[in-house]
């Protein structure tokens, strides 16, 4: 299932405010129809990678200084977010950035900004089909919705834009286990039914690797490992550091961890 290359990141470096270097030569490839997941610790540069793709570095005074990002064969690095979104790359920001004072439906309508003037009723129906919970709350002010509803809302909002490449930043952050599962199931369905290409940045490596086709691991602004999701799931290091399963395959208990480290501290 080697599809066409949708997005090719070629050895990029990203610098904020001309001083702080966050990415140091990152390369990755996203093929059409795939879900690619990007794992890594906090501060490793995952979000920056997403923002480099979607053009949102600019408002934060960041810049791609080296390397290139090619989307469908055309270089898009350092383009404005308006141009990039109109090419079909939509990022769902971390931490549910809803429009608090707009109703749920109005929030969804903002998603039509890249194709202003075109009919959108069918897309609304589609979003409500994926997220029936939103239909019930469509006239509610988004600021009063629960965390789960908001996560659905921001993903739904991005779907309204007919994304060719959807970038999801921590979609499971702060969600209950059941909801995490639901969100990931829907992400998988979107990938399968809408033939959308997705890139998921996740802390919950377990879930992310279950739905992904391919995965990358980032540390300190560099890609340190890449492989098919299947292979990554089997990799002992990934198991140890990201999945939290010991070599024996059972879930590690936090009790052991704390006892060991505490002893270390006292000695």
């Amino acid at each position: 299932m080697e599809g066409n290359v949708r997005l090719l990141i070629n050895n990029i470096s990203v610098v904020y405010s001309d001083v702080i270097q966050v990415l140091k030569g990152v390369s990755l490839t996203i093929r059409e129809g795939q879900i690619v997941s990007l794992l890594g610790s906090n501060g490793a540069g995952k979000t920056t990678t997403l923002k480099a793709i979607s053009g949102l570095l600019k408002p934060e005074n960041g810049r791609v200084t080296e390397g290139s990002i090619e989307y469908d064969g055309k270089a898009v690095q350092n383009s404005s977010p308006e141009e990039i979104t109109r090419k079909g790359i939509i990022q769902v920001l971390e931490g549910r950035q809803e429009f608090k004072y707009l109703t749920v439906e109005e929030n969804l309508r903002v998603g039509t900004a890249t194709r202003w003037g075109k009919p959108y009723q069918k897309d609304l129906d589609l979003v409500y089909h994926y997220f029936p919970a939103l239909l019930a709350r469509k006239r509610a002010m988004a600021g009063y919705c629960s965390g789960g509803e908001l996560q659905m809302l921001v993903i739904g909002r991005a779907l309204m834009a007919h994304p060719m490449l959807l970038l999801l930043d921590e979609p499971s952050l702060g969600l209950a286990p059941l909801l995490v599962k639901e969100i990931f199931q829907i992400i998988k369905r979107i990938n399968e039914e809408q033939a959308a290409t997705l890139m998921v940045v996740e802390q919950n490596a377990n879930m992310a690797l279950q739905i992904a086709h391919y995965g990358y691991v980032m540390e300190n602004g560099k890609i340190v490992m890449e492989n098919s999701a299947q292979e990554l799931r089997e990799n002992p290091d990934v198991k140890e550091f990201y999945l939290g399963t010991a070599a024996s395959g059972t879930l590690k208990s936090y009790k052991d961890v704390k006892a060991y480290k505490r002893r270390k501290r006292w000695l």
């Binding site: 929030n107 309508r109 903002v110």
Partner: protein, 292 residues
Amino acid sequence: MEFFLQLLVNGLSLGFLYALSALGFVMIFKSSSVLNFAHGELMAIGAFIFLALSAWAGLPILLAFVFTMIGSFTLGFILEKFFLRPLIGEALIQVIMLTLGLALMFRGLLLFIFGGDIHDYPDFLPEALTIQWGAINIPSVYVAAFIIGILFLILFGLFFKYSSQGIYMRSVADNQPAALSLGVHVRRVFALSWAIAGLVCAISGIVLGIINGINVHELSSIGLKVFPVVILGGLDSIGGAILGGIIIGLLESFTGGYISTSLREIIPYIVLIFILMVKPYGLFGLVEIERV
């Protein structure tokens, strides 16, 4: 009784004028959360362009009006591009101070060019608009202000509630990064809202100019009167601006008629403070949603 009715009518018409001039203000606030202290000066600029074109250059009224609209639209656009845009992301107080600085600049410039005298437009409104009802007389210009006010209210109300562009504008004021991530053209939204605001300011400036004569000091002080009006109604509410305008207009008219003319100027501010103590977001303003 007749005195009361005349005060009532005066207050209502004055209120509509205030409401009209507040609309441009709300427009800017709704899309970019900027409090524009140069509002009165923008009105004055519109009024003076129209004066220059109609009275001095001798253009036909309609043509002069169209050119004034184009000019003020462009002015709003330029203001945003060169002065407001560099400040995106800066602290509130800096934006406020910038508009205060712009106000000083414009006032100085207008005084330099046109002087501090009162000018008048040639008569052009049809007499037919005048309403004579018993002893009560409503001059045509007030009727015109009323019609324009209602028109704008409906137009803007529908625009922000239902049109996609209106929703994009509100989304930008709400959460800029998120709007950017969805491809809303943030810069265009800002520019557009300032341009439209410039246009609305010019219209209200012209209407005020017809009534009171055109004078820089007068118009810029009415620009400050906009604040009690919009705050009373709630900064982001168009209906609130209209209602706030009417309340302030009536208050002024009755205070002036029954108590004293000197208190008249200050009464909006006193009432404003009391209302804000009870309703901190004005009568119709959105209550801030806070989550911890």
